[in-house]
Symmetry: C2
Subunit: 314 residues, 2 copies
């Protein structure tokens, strides 16, 4: 199994730099005071399409050779990856085909269609999604871009941590949420190469703790009936992602739904920025484990800011 | 009546620079596309205490001579000015006395108390507020800092526009909301001095259009039973403020509650930042008058980001 290395992240950064936004790193005196540590938030909620996913999708799309690119790209997703792939394809001037379950929220359908992607609706089951995508792929010769279990996607996601280290020296701990593991794998590769002594700690909802159990047991537990507000973290780990995580990640900690909502609210109220629940996981884990983090300089990747304002947990 | 001049804004900026945050200017490609103009948002929602009010309060507090400062400052307010004055006084190491109506929201009481101010509760009437403040002021020898009808406060509020022009050249229109007129007067003085051809257009809720009517009729209409979600814009104009506005402001336009909420939601969703309803007024006015603003480079001061997340209009 060929795993991405640090040089792949550097190459990805060079390739996608013209297309991504250089997102800011924000700090909050009052949150630092309340938590007893120094937090540096990398604001991927300000990234294009509102999430770090645009980094990986851009790297995958712009890495394609012209012969393949001209046939288009495809994926099945109802989330940020679909919008990210659609926008990256639009910028490159190629077609994107997105398979979405028929019951996906209208707002997501509109967003993906707004980037000019072709949407094919299917039954809301994994089997139907995969079969529908397979058929379109074979018919059109598309390149399928998996949302996280993909070498180029992992390399692209690692560029967020790369930029965070450029802006912010001497971090002792690097944190991000874990769902499929694309962001975590990329972040871990970048971190351990730049500052080997910096600990990489992932954060996961206790109601969707398959990565925590996989990390503990040494094999991938599938995510079965996850129950959490953090709708970006429902998926099982990919194999590539898990292999990197086993090598490079120091720990995975979980947080309760109450802590996730409290952390999300703290960031909204104190920092005046909008983050999605998945982004709140690292702060939620710090809230539940104050002694472990006290006094440290900690980088946190805020994964995205796409929330339904009509359906907030406060 | 001695009105602030541009030199007063420059002096204010020198004085308060060590205490205020240099807030960023953000843009949004998608909002520009939707509105058909180029908007530059000065993010005072990221300012200390979450609002531009900290600029004026700081200028007033740090302008005091030691003999006066040592006796403390006072005001009656249940809003952002109370928190701003409390924090400015705390930084200078002097006492702040805030008169608040007994029915003020608990969250505001906690915020002001958190900055170490002395709070005196009174009946929720203007008469009770003024009498209570008068008594404390006479007893203690406080300097009263009015939230907007104050030379130093106006000069301090003008520093936001000053910074916006430093970051962003060739603006053709400058916009901000108008309540008591502190921000608008300061903004107009700065704008007309830096770029005389730049039009200053204020935005006001149609349900609280006393400034619009005052500007039209040439005398101050008091704000009677204002009805708007923009809770920072309920007050009547001050005399100092109105004198400046008559000289320097090009126009005041109003917006409906529907437009205010739509503009607020657009900024939350597209820019991933939290603004209070008052901050949404300029964009709401642009939404209702697209032709007037089409193709122009427009500076907008986002006045603040203090909202009750448990009571949102979406």
């Amino acid at each position: 199994m060929l795993l991405p290395e640090f040089s792949d992240i550097l190459s990805a950064h060079e390739l996608i730099k013209p297309y991504i936004l250089r997102t800011p790193v924000l700090t909050s005196r009052s949150i630092n005071f309340l938590m007893g540590c120094e937090l540096f938030f990398k604001c991927e909620n300000f990234q294009k399409v509102g999430a770090f996913k645009f980094r990986g999708a851009s790297n995958a799309v712009f890495s394609l050779r012209d012969e393949a690119a001209i046939l288009g790209v495809g994926t099945h997703s109802s989330g940020n990856h679909a919008a990210a792939l659609a926008l990256a394809a639009k910028i490159r001037g190629i077609e994107a085909h997105i398979v979405m379950p028929s019951n996906a929220p209208a707002v997501k359908k509109i967003a993906v269609a707004g980037y000019g992607a072709h949407i094919t609706f299917c039954e809301p089951t994994l089997q139907s999604r995969e079969e529908t995508l397979k058929k379109i792929t074979e018919d059109l010769g598309l390149t399928v871009i998996h949302p996280y279990n993909n070498f180029k996607v992992i390399s692209g996601q690692g560029t967020a941590a790369l930029e965070l280290f450029e802006d912010c020296k001497e971090l002792e701990i690097m944190m991000c949420p874990v769902g499929g593991g694309g962001l975590l794998a990329g972040t871990a590769i970048a971190t351990k190469n730049l500052i080997p002594g910096c600990r990489v700690i992932a954060a996961e909802p206790r109601g969707a703790d398959d990565a925590y159990r996989s990390f503990r047991d040494g094999y991938i537990h599938p995510s079965v009936q996850p129950l959490t507000i953090a709708d970006g973290l429902l998926t099982s780990l990919g194999e590539l992602n898990f292999a990197v995580i086993q090598q490079k990640v120091d720990d995975i900690l979980t947080a309760s739904e109450e802590s996730i909502i409290a952390a999300m609210r703290m960031i909204w109220e104190r920092m005046k920025i909008i983050i999605e629940p998945s982004s709140a996981l690292p702060l939620a884990v710090i809230m539940e484990n104050r002694e472990k983090f006290a006094g440290h300089r900690i980088g946190i990747i805020l994964s995205g800011g796409n929330v339904d304002l009509s359906n907030l947990p406060f």
